[in-house]
Every structure is written in C-alpha cells, then in structure tokens.
Symmetry: C2
Amino acid sequence: MESVSVLKPYVIGLDLGGTNSVFGIVDSRGDIKATTTIKTQGYEKVEDYVAASVDALKLIIDQVGGIDTIKAMGIGAPNGNFYNGTIEFAPNLSWGHNGVVPLAQMFSDKLGIPVALTNDANAAAIGEMTYGVARGMKNFIIITLGTGVGSGIVVNGQLVYGSDGFAGELGHVTMRREHGRSCGCGRNGCLEAYCSATGVARTARELLETTSEPSLLRDLKLEDITSLDVSIAAGKGDELAKRVYEMTGEMLGEACADFAAFSSPEAFIFFGGLTKAGDLLMKPLKESYDKHVLKIFKDKAKFLISGLDGSSAAVLGASAIGWDI
Amino acid sequence: MESVSVLKPYVIGLDLGGTNSVFGIVDSRGDIKATTTIKTQGYEKVEDYVAASVDALKLIIDQVGGIDTIKAMGIGAPNGNFYNGTIEFAPNLSWGHNGVVPLAQMFSDKLGIPVALTNDANAAAIGEMTYGVARGMKNFIIITLGTGVGSGIVVNGQLVYGSDGFAGELGHVTMRREHGRSCGCGRNGCLEAYCSATGVARTARELLETTSEPSLLRDLKLEDITSLDVSIAAGKGDELAKRVYEMTGEMLGEACADFAAFSSPEAFIFFGGLTKAGDLLMKPLKESYDKHVLKIFKDKAKFLISGLDGSSAAVLGASAIGWDI
C-alpha cells in the first residue's frame, strides 16, 4: 500500500444513503480533500444515477489533480454485497429495490479505477479500523444505531462477510421471543425494533401510553415523537426520557453479552445518532453487559464510541474499503 | 504442508476428557495408525500426568517408526486456550481446576515436537475441516451436543478464537430471558441448559411432571432419567419422548437463526451424542430455522451431522490442529 499510496494518494468514498449520495476524496490519514453531493432518488434508472454521480465527481477529481491521483473507490450502500459489488433488493432505493444492481462494476467502467462496495455498517467498521478508534484492533464489533441497527464484525483483522456477503446482521438477532415488537424485516422481537432511533421513539410512546408519569414529552403529539425529542427531553433531566435510554442501553448490553460468546471482541464500538446520548446510554449498557456476560469474558471488552467525525464518518468508512482493493 | 507431510507423515492427537485421555497417531487422510489411553484423573500433579502420557505415547510412537515420523501434536481439552497453549481453571480436572496449566509447552518439552492446544469444540471444527464434512468450507459453525453445548466457528477459513482465545461459546447465548433454566455457568436461560444431553433429560422430567400424558419414561425414577432413556423411548415411538426432541430441535433452530445473522455460515454441523436422534432432532431444527431466520439467509445454510466416526472423532479433531502448526 505504501508505495502505491505515494503515487496515488487518494481514494473516493461514496456514502450512498436513501436521500443523499455524498462523495468524498480522502487521503490515507482520513483527511477529506474534496466533497460533493447529489440526490440519490432523482433518477429512475441506475444508469442515470451513475452518470450524474460521475459528472459531479469529475469536478472534485480535477480539484485534487485528476483521476491519476485516485487509487480506488469504495461504496457503502444499503444491502450492499461485497462479494459481487452489487446492491440487492434495497427497499429504499427507487432504482435498486427491484433487483440486483452491479453498481461497483458500473462505476469502475465509467471511472477506470477499481471499485468495491459493502453495506454501510461494514463500511463503518473498516473506517474505524483504518482511521478511527479500532486502529490496530484485530477483533471488534461495530454497532450502528441509526434509523435501524446495523453491525460490522471484524475477526482476525478481517471483516466477516460470511458465505454470501451478508453476515453481520446483528440488528436482527431476536431479543424478545415472546410478545416481541414487530420489526421492519417482517419478524418480531429483533434488537432493531427496540434499539434503533425508531425503537427509542417507540419505547417512549409505550411508556407515555402505559404510565401516567409526568414528562416533557407529553407536550408533543404522541405519534410525532422522535428519538431526537426523547434525547432533548432527557438532556433537560426528564425522568421518563432518561428511562427510555436506560432501557435501550440495558437491552444493548444483553445483546453484546451474547455477541461476546460468539467472537469475544476486544471492543464494542457504537456509531450513529443515538450515541450522542453519551453516558445516558453507555452507562446502563455497560452495567447490563457486566451483569449478563459469561464470567470468562467479564471486564475484557472495551466499550467505545466511534472516533470518526459524525458528518463525514460514513464517507470515510466507504473510502476505507478503497485502500484494500 | 505437502513436502513436510511426506517426511513426517503423522500427527498425534490427544482428546483430553474429564475421565480418559485418548491418544492417537493419525495420518493426513485421517486414518488412526495407533492409539492408547490413560486415566486423566489418576494424578495429583500435572507433571505426573504428562510423564505418564509420554510413557504411554512412546510405545505407539515406536510402532509407527519413531518420533521423527511425527510432525506435531494437537490437544483438545476443556477450557483450552489456543493462544497460550494453556488449560485455564478447568473445573473437571483435578490437576487443572485451580490455575493456568501450560500443557502444550510441557508436552513439547518432553517430546521435542511442536504442540498446540484448543478446546474440544474448536478441535472438532478443525477435525471436520481437515477430515470431515467441512472439507473445503470457509464459513461454518459446528455445534457439539454432549453433556454441555459447545461450538467452533470458522470464518474465512480460520477458527474464531477472538481477542482472548475463548470465542465460540454458543452454548451460553441466552435463549430464555425470563424464567430461564439455571445453567452450570451460573447464569439463566442458556442454550446449554436446554439443548445439551442434560437439558434433554431436564425437558423430559419437566414434561413428565407438568402433564399426565402416558409415557414409557414413567416406568423410570424421575431423577434418574437420562438423555439416553429419552432417546430409547423415542425410538420406540413414545410420543412424549419424541416431543422432547422436537422441543430441543426447535430451540436449536431458533438459536441457529441468530447465529446466521452473525456469520452467515455455509453450514451448521452437529456433533455428539444427541445427533444419534437423527431426523427426530434435525427435522424440527430445520423447520424452526426456516421459520425464524432473516429472509436474506433463507434456504442458504446446510444442516449436517458430523462425518467423523463417533468414537475417534475427538482424537481426530485434536490431531488436526497439529497439521497447521
């Protein structure tokens, strides 16, 4: 990598989200040299999306010295499959929900550089390993707490893709086998149904409906309450809102105790909006982990919050895949 | 490996059990050329155990042509740590329950060959990969159904040892978070408390106590019922006994559905006494897996029973570690 990175000092990262597609040109230290954004959804056909992306990219590629300075491109995308470089049946993408899109190949053909693709959580894991708090770690699990709950698992210094490229769906382990909440995946009781941003809002609504405890959240319309509202209320000392984070942390701790029995990671790294709650979430999480984990693993794993800058973390994560192609 | 195995065609395997220590000298095809056994527990000090082992080994080493024909030795042992070659606080070993025993180094010093050590389930996984049904597989999980429930996880062709050498304790993921059965590990609701041989006997006793359903098992003293009794009764068509295996298989299927979300293995391989129940266990297991697994993993994983000969499987598994040193 060293000699190549001197000749070609940059990689492109694409954080392909349901709304925006954010591109960044990144150096080996994780500094973003140039960035641009297009709407993800403005295109009916994937060919149009790629063409618009390449047009936008050309401007920033020129800014850093042309395509010859770019080693490769990495894409973090929902339902991204590393093995095939495809996006498969992504429910939130107008041009990608209905089949298998060979997006890595399409970008590679247009740009003339290697392109790799994986899902957002795996990209985050590689980002942490390349530029973040997981530098030097060989065994860790990153858990992304956003609209959903995602995960990227690193074992022996390698990302776990499994037999089909889709390993690491820890948001969909079953935490409540009886009377579990319905999950977007069509099953019940998944971790994601409780510990995502959406899950936090659901927990708040449940507490508001089933108790008469006073809360700042009662000033809001029940169905409009978001995790951000819960976070703001908790920040103001609202007891009910604080308990929502406590319950969320407790379940995440229970889940991590099971994950330890799997790969005994050196660290659990949390990433995404919910981590802004800080100790409100992390303290009950660690306490619950200590209570539930097998004795042999006690006091071994670290609990960390992502060290990557929030707004650019996803682009950095995607770009990091580019160094390994 | 090829050229070395021509010069040194054998490895020693040691299946170190709570009662017996079984040694085998094995060739690269998994044929056991010579075997010997000593009692594990007849020794107060580990030095005496190793000395007795080496005395017994010398006889069979001579049979195959002397120590120069032996490439290495592999040990499968309870609480074995691959990273350090140690047995750590093994509750069932009189000379090993109270500390950290550097067993691999001790054998290596006496025999003058490299020695590696891991726990029994990991040894079984390497055995399947080397000689058994997992040959050529890069991602699989072996689940050992014996007195306890153990596991060995292979990802990208490598065994998952985790940050401390103790990864792969899938017998201790929590399957029942409320009113879970007490487990030998001091926690409640573990997979092992339900799906081990002991767990099967407990399930039978629970059904006998909480129903008045007729069963051949009612002829036995409740507290004496073992998994073997349940298996014999089920073989005779006893409905209650058959339901015990059904319930066991159902929970294993639920557990495997969660494991798929972790490493998306190509196959789940089952090993140990309970697998003798065959379809009685495997049919409900597969049905339950299909019902519980995330859609993206459906119909992908194979469900296999270990291909290694039962009586020698543990020795073969242990020996297989020797090829990779």
